[in-house]
């Protein structure tokens, strides 16, 4: 018998070498195969979790160089949805392995020039604000709707922007609550505050209405998730440090996010700084206070509001379902809204193909994964698809617009907010 484990590593000090125990946990049983959207779409095991783990081992033991184009292609084609983690009996920490592999392959740089520029903008607050302001201006014109059928990423980008237009009426109401459920500081988030500003305000309202007091954490910034996923672990740590300091200073009992990807990242700040004597404890402390907005709402009830008469399908963001392992809370929130008919959505636990900036970097695979999602939405008969992550909202929302489907994507919090407004 031979094996690739236990052999000397060419990358002994690499991020991947530090995750060796995670690699060792895989026994190649294959139970992950059918959970993997890229395996289902591409039909090649090198695009499956266990296949990619074999490639990671080869990188680590030096049998494949980091420059190998096949290695790069299959590692880059991974969505990072982590659906394999909730299928894995051995508890392989696949998300960590993927980030460490990407960091090891390219010495901490994102794969393409375009992605490096994009991530640099996310890391730079004034630039990010400017970019988001431009995007908002564009979204307020008819241009995105006119151009959303253009082929390629330009048309898709326009569809994503056009999809940020909230499909229901936003009535005003003032949210009152006792604040007795504790204090919470909202992670504003780059895309949420940039393109879903009203959803952030709605988040603050529904939390107040459910007796949380809201506290500002003004010096916060990007959570670093996109950087970590691309293997830019150094950049991710710099961003995380800023947020750790900001939320420590806020003194809030909970750090609340309405973006599943950001929440998953912040909950793993402890792992990001493992072995760092100065930051490890601080990071773990902040991480332990992070909650998805659906968790806080479900814990508080949530309070019931007015009638919202729609057939709603819930599509689980991967970073909520698989990374944070939150399945029931968003459903509890939706069930609390009078008038909503929750319709089953087949494969609601599967990725939509958004995956951070993946839909911009790997358009073909992303489209193949999205197509399957749109088919399931069509079959569900839902008028609204509720999902709590900005990437998924725009991927599904944009996909629906381009496919001329009548359903629209909304954040669950916006539905609850509309319900309170209608009360």
């Amino acid at each position: 018998m031979t094996t690739s484990t236990g052999t000397p590593s060419l990358h002994a000090d690499s991020p991947l070498a530090r995750e060796q125990a995670g690699l060792d946990a895989c026994v190649h049983c294959g139970f992950c195969l059918q959970a993997c959207p890229t395996y289902l779409a591409l039909e090649d095991e090198s695009d499956s979790p266990r296949g990619r783990i074999v490639l990671m081992r080869a990188l680590l033991d030096g049998s494949l160089p980091a420059s190998d184009p096949d290695l790069r292609q299959h590692i880059d084609q991974c969505l990072g949805c982590r659906a394999c983690e909730t299928a894995c009996p051995s508890g392989v920490p696949y998300g960590h392995l993927l980030e460490a592999t990407r960091a090891t392959m390219r010495g901490g740089h994102a794969p393409t020039f375009a992605s490096r520029i994009l991530l640099a903008v996310f890391a730079h607050r004034p630039l990010m604000r400017f970019a988001m302001a431009m995007a908002r201006l564009l979204a307020a014109t008819p241009i995105p709707t006119l151009l959303l059928k253009l082929p390629g990423r330009l048309g898709f980008g326009m569809a994503m922007l056009a999809s940020t237009d909230f499909p229901l009426e936003r009535a005003k109401y003032v949210a009152h609550g006792s604040g007795e459920n504790g204090s919470a500081a909202l992670l504003l988030g780059c895309v949420m505050e940039g393109l879903f500003t009203e959803t952030n305000r709605a988040t603050e309202r529904v939390l107040r209405r459910n007796d949380y007091s809201m506290i500002a954490a003004p010096s916060q910034g990007c959570c670093g998730a996109l950087h970590a996923h691309a293997g830019e672990l150094g950049a991710a740590r710099r961003l995380a440090k800023r947020n750790i300091a900001a939320f420590e200073k806020s003194g809030a009992q909970y750090i609340v996010t309405n973006s599943a990807g950001c929440g998953a990242m912040m909950k793993e700040y402890g792992h990001l700084f493992s072995g760092d004597a100065e930051w490890s404890q601080r990071a773990s402390d902040v991480a332990s206070r992070v909650r998805d907005v659906s968790e806080l709402l479900a814990a508080a009830g949530p309070r019931s509001g007015g009638v919202i008469p729609f057939a709603v399908a819930y599509d689980a963001p991967c970073h909520l379902q698989h990374a944070q392992r939150i399945t029931e809370a968003p459903l509890t929130v939706l069930r609390a809204i009078p008038g909503i008919e929750l319709v089953p959505l087949d494969e609601s636990d599967q990725c939509c193909g958004s995956a951070g900036i993946y839909n911009l970097l790997e358009p073909e695979t992303s489209d193949a994964v999205l197509e399957r999602k749109l088919d399931r939405i069509e079959a569900s008969g839902a008028a609204l698809v509720a999902t709590g992550n900005p990437g998924c909202l725009m991927q599904i929302g944009g996909g629906l617009l381009r496919a001329d489907m009548r359903a629209r994507a909304v954040h669950p919090v916006d539905l609850l907010d509309a319900s309170y407004a209608a009360d």
């Binding site: 018998m1 094996t3 060792d24 992950c32 090198s46 494949l64 009996p89 051995s90």
Partner: protein
Amino acid sequence: MTEPAATSVAEELRAIVGDRFVLERDAVLLAYQSDGLPGYHKRPSLAVFPGSRDETIEVVRLLATTGTSFVPRGAGTGLSGGALADDVVLLGLHRLKAVLDVDIARMRATVEPGVVNAALNKRLARHGVFYAPDPSSEAACTIGGNVAENAGGPHCLKYGVTLNHILAATVLLPDGEVMEIGDRDGGMAGYDLLGAFIGSEGCFGVALDITVRLTRRPAAVRTALADFAHVADATRATSAIIASGVVPAALEFMDNGTIRVVEESIFAAGYPIDAAAILLIEVDGSEESSDAEMEVVRSLCMESGARTVRVATNEAERMRLWQGRKKAFGAMGRLAPNLVVQDAVIPRTQLTDILAQIHAIGDSHGLTVCNVFHAGDGNLHPNISYDAGDPDQVERVHDAMSAIMQACITAGGSITGEHGVGLDKLPYMTKLFDEPTLAAMCDLRNAFDPDHRSNPGKVVPVHSCREWLAAPAARAPARRATDAR
């Protein structure tokens, strides 16, 4: 390095299935060097994945014309090294995943070989019927692979193995001929070719479509978890239940080591981690008969020394109990980087004695053996976790597994219950069968695959098939159609 003839085979394959589905480079073949038993690594000369029935026929005919050997592969979840291609062509059938027909009136469904076992059952659920054989890898393994291995599973105790649930198949012989075997209406005339094909481990060709028997869901199901402080009490309870005349739908055994890895996993089922062993016992039928049978099971377990017997009170709890059992094999990665599992069948009455022997063999080799198996039909699965980086440990694992298999053979058992012989159990075949028997098996193979090009070197040891020695050309001309870079 590249031989002109080999290159042309790869090019012709590309013309049939498209560039993306012919793999030749080292990096992209890595994922296909192992099946579910990753102690073995064999590099295929190339891999080809046809996307339709017609493409499959074209591919196999091309391989026949060029005298190229090939190994069929489903999802690569097998546990005997059966789908390993050692320098020959790997023929992946996982892209053939259409459910062609579901005929509830005739209680049958016709599927392509790459349809995943659990996906078929998901599709059937709304009709109140199911396809009964349920290997633990059901979430990933394919019906084609199940047919090749004559796969079992926990519920085969009552419902029977794959063989009992296949009505017909369209088979593509290694020479490219297409043949219908079996009878979709369940009739039978002449020799049982279908029976010969099922469990032939890819040596008799591949199935293009498979018609399976559907079974109506029982009206009632009861699932119990019996908790024992001593292994011998659990095996005694097993014998008592079978002797009572109750035929459980499933009767599964897990020892302490297995319970612990499952309880650490995402599939934690609430098994008592201080138990020496647990039995998972399911009975089904009508509401009344299930309750009555479960009462018999409960009292027999208690009489045999069970600490508690807990019956699942709802479907979610029942599924949780089962998920723990089904994912146990995959959870063993928590113990050590490498894992080997065996698959032996022994007379059920010898369970207590064999388990003691297995324990002693583990001890004397300085290894821990975890047991999780189908107790009701005496189908053992000893698992040994180890570190392949330690050559001494590898040696001890090898010796211990041989000793365990020898003990099972001595007890009157067999070397496989459901995983097949493949590559891993080839050495045991000569211990179990004499030369004339092995030669008869070769004669049967010759009827389907006279050139021995389909899954060469598996199941029956080469020296038993004298033709092989005379025909080294069975090795693929395409064997070096690789190293393009």
